[in-house]
């Protein structure tokens, strides 16, 4: 029995296998409509996240399974002081698989150590969010036909963005990847990711504050939100905030086949007018997230079409 807590637990071969299943689900949804018949997914969301929960629930329903849901810590036994370990043991008696989001880092790992059913980490604080990375990988694959030989730009808050850290970790295992890190000095990628992930894997990377200077060379642009509260002073925020807002004007210098990704929610870092541009992939990413969650649920439940 396996869980998924961190994207690193999946080998590139397993990710390829999940992507292949997702393609087949897209092509033949009817074939998968009953594969999880009689199975129950428990969504334990101890912090607000409508979309990820809906994505997991939609994924399970489309596989013919059912969903048991706890939508907030306030409505569960956690509010009475029950430990994550006990919750995992109790829910194991009702469901076949758990998707857990928790504000504390490591909570899904604790659940997986105590549950007798697979646990999927649906986001633990600012730490890991492996199914978002699976959504990102399928999106890149569908747009580019490959996960290797790509120049991938990450723009905005690279310090606190867990989706950025996980995607870099996942992409670093493929060949020919060049990473371009675009952020203000205050929000640079943590040095341990540069050292432990990129340098270790021999990944070529550059760091810059200037999006426009590097935009023409990118195959993928992964945008994130730059939050005012992350800056030490307002002057720096005002100086830099517009540099990281993507507008149709700026996109004129980008490749015609650029793919723009964003883990959402977006605030103002991508102009709404870009939504119509064929290079905007962030809503496709949401849909791809559901397909990858379907593939993952099947893999962990060991069911086949």
């Amino acid at each position: 029995m396996r869980s998924l807590i961190d994207i690193k637990e999946l080998t590139p071969a397993e990710i390829d296998e999940l992507i292949a299943t997702a393609y087949d689900i897209i092509a033949n949804p009817a074939k998968y409509a009953e594969v999880c018949h009689g199975k129950k997914l428990a969504t334990l969301f101890f912090e607000p996240s409508t979309r990820t929960r809906l994505s997991f629930e939609a994924a399970m329903y489309e596989l013919g399974g059912n969903v048991l849901s706890v939508s907030s810590a306030g409505s569960s036994s956690a509010s009475k002081g029950e430990s994550v370990a006990d919750t995992a043991k109790v829910v194991s008696c009702y469901a076949d698989i758990i998707a857990m989001r928790h504000p504390k880092e490591g909570a899904p790992l604790v659940a997986s150590m105590n549950a007798s059913i697979p646990v999927i980490n649906a986001g633990d604080g600012g730490h890991n969010h492996p199914t978002q990375t699976l959504a990102d990988l399928l999106t890149i694959h569908r747009e580019k036909g490959r996960l290797s030989d790509l120049t991938v730009g990450f723009c905005g808050d690279l310090k606190f963005g867990r989706t950025v850290h996980s995607l870099i970790t996942a992409l670093a295992r493929y060949t020919g990847i060049k990473i371009v890190l675009i952020s203000p000095d205050e929000l640079k990628l943590p040095s341990y990711i540069k050292k432990d992930v990129m340098q270790k894997q021999g990944i070529e990377y550059v760091q810059t504050e200037d999006l426009m200077a590097v935009l023409p060379e990118l195959d993928i642009l992964y945008m994130t939100r730059v939050q005012k509260e992350r800056f030490f002073n307002e002057e720096d925020y005002l100086r830099l905030k517009d540099s990281y807002i993507l507008t149709p004007d700026k996109l004129k210098v980008a490749k015609p086949d650029l793919a723009i990704l964003h883990p959402l929610p977006r605030v103002n870092e991508i102009a709404v007018s870009i939504d119509e541009d064929p290079r905007a992939c962030y809503f496709k990413q949401v849909l791809n997230g559901k397909y990858m969650r379907m593939a993952l649920i099947m893999k962990l439940l060991e069911v086949h079409a």
Binding site: A85, P103, K104, E105, G106, V110, G125, Y192, D196
Partner: protein
């Protein structure tokens, strides 16, 4: 300075000078009934200065703690006044209940009964990270 030789017990030798007290504390040697001697800044041909701990009883040592604090120490087992075994410590892959996670967002901060477990992620730099939140352990 003379310390009586041991009949049955353990000598932890080649401790990096200054780490003897830390090993004493982490191994809870103050809880022992028997004689325990810490020699600080003893002479060493190889190391210049070294610390030594002599324990006048045959106890079970936590090798993980020794390996974590000072992987180069030698553990000499003495029986009937003779050296019967030499053991080397190694850098442990996992440490339980030795280091404590200081990340306020870590699950260990709210669930007090969880064991604090750290795993070795970079043997060259001797980096240990919390298994729950991956926060790096402070170097002493």
């Amino acid at each position: 300075m003379n310390i009586d030789s041991i009949k049955n017990g353990i000598v932890i030798d080649h401790i990096t000078a200054g780490r003897g007290m830390k090993i004493y504390q982490l191994l809870n040697l103050d809880a022992l009934d028997c004689s325990v001697a810490i020699i600080k800044n003893g002479h060493s041909e190889k190391m210049g200065k070294k610390d030594i701990i002599k324990i006048d009883a045959d106890i079970e040592l936590n090798m993980d703690i020794l390996g974590y604090v000072d992987p180069d120490v030698t553990i000499n087992i003495i029986r009937d006044g003779k050296l019967v075994e030499k053991r080397r410590a190694t850098l442990p892959q996992k440490l339980t209940g030795v280091l404590f996670c200081k990340n306020p967002r870590c699950i260990t901060t709210t669930e007090q009964e969880l064991p604090h477990i750290f795993s070795l992620t970079d043997p060259d730099a001797r980096v240990y990270r919390c298994i729950y939140c991956e926060t790096k352990a402070d170097k002493d």
